[in-house]
Subunit: 221 residues, 2 copies
Amino acid sequence: MTTAIILAAGKSTRMGAKADKAFLSLIGKPVVAWSLMAFERTPEIDKIVLVVRKDQLDASKAVVKMFGISKIQAIVQGGTRRQDSVLAGIAACDLDTKHIVIHDGARPLVTPELISEVVAAVKKSGAVTVGRPMIDTVKKCAKAAIVSETVDRDKLWLVQTPQAFLLKDLRAAYKNVDGEITDDCKAIEDNGGTVKIVQSLKPNFKITTIEDFELVSKIMK
Amino acid sequence: MTTAIILAAGKSTRMGAKADKAFLSLIGKPVVAWSLMAFERTPEIDKIVLVVRKDQLDASKAVVKMFGISKIQAIVQGGTRRQDSVLAGIAACDLDTKHIVIHDGARPLVTPELISEVVAAVKKSGAVTVGRPMIDTVKKCAKAAIVSETVDRDKLWLVQTPQAFLLKDLRAAYKNVDGEITDDCKAIEDNGGTVKIVQSLKPNFKITTIEDFELVSKIMK
């Protein structure tokens, strides 16, 4: 069994204190509904666990019903840090789950084709993430917005979600996580695992600012 | 005097051998025409030098005429490496040029507002680039698409163009460049200069693949 965990419990601090980006209306549907629909339509996905903030539990039930998300396994409350939300999602998975696919609810451009590709890759390689080679120049700024170093972008990749793992590997990796991490592959890497990148050049932006929201709206129209 | 150098001599290797991305038709106009029009409309820009491949010199003259680019100072032939094209552009600048603004012709989403902001910043700070904080996770792959390391993205910025400098500083910096560089700020940094980032969250993609071309088309429509 393959279960998807969709994370929509983020704080959206960059969009203003009151905004909950996962539930903003994007071309007439809540941002998170687009990801739910993409996973619903992917044949390789059996179950979906949705992780949200406590105050969105009721709204989430309504969204799941309204958009006919029949694969929903559970809607659970997330934590303060990303990893707390992932662990809450893992705890709610069906016990028969072998592979787990984790996706940021704030990346509504994900497609069933991409999810299928990720599931095929995890079955082959054991731990995978979607990513693309770095195009822009990368600078490090020690002080705010003052360049202290140009980072060699050769061999650098930008990685996104979905990411997918063997559930047993991710569970084992999280047992050894110390401190905060913002990406599940990192847990696997730190635990000695190998992560493969599934290259995707199509837009798959994470909505973190109003500008991103406007950009994604334009792309979806 | 402030002169813009627009670079459109790139090889477009990622779009197939025959494609010249700067001259592909994007919503009815060549890609590079969008940048030319943005610089033409920016009051703070006095002159424009366009750098193209030898086989595009005639087409470029036609583009400049067709889109009424009255600020054109010269259309010159670029070199194999980005830095050769920059040096060709510098050599063609009006002698009264104090500030220079360098822009990738493959970034057609640039706006007069952003260019004005960059010119104001260079007049204050001496060396500037447009950029945004890193949102996606960054991985290093020693072997193709196998993650070898997660790069700490804290303090990392993605930088783009326009970039702007005092012409005398850029000239001095390029005298000390040894080997290939793909970003003009790097020349300034290596020469002891300080580069400031002008934050811009609006889309400003560089067209390097067919997927990027489709993305930018959607945004512009």
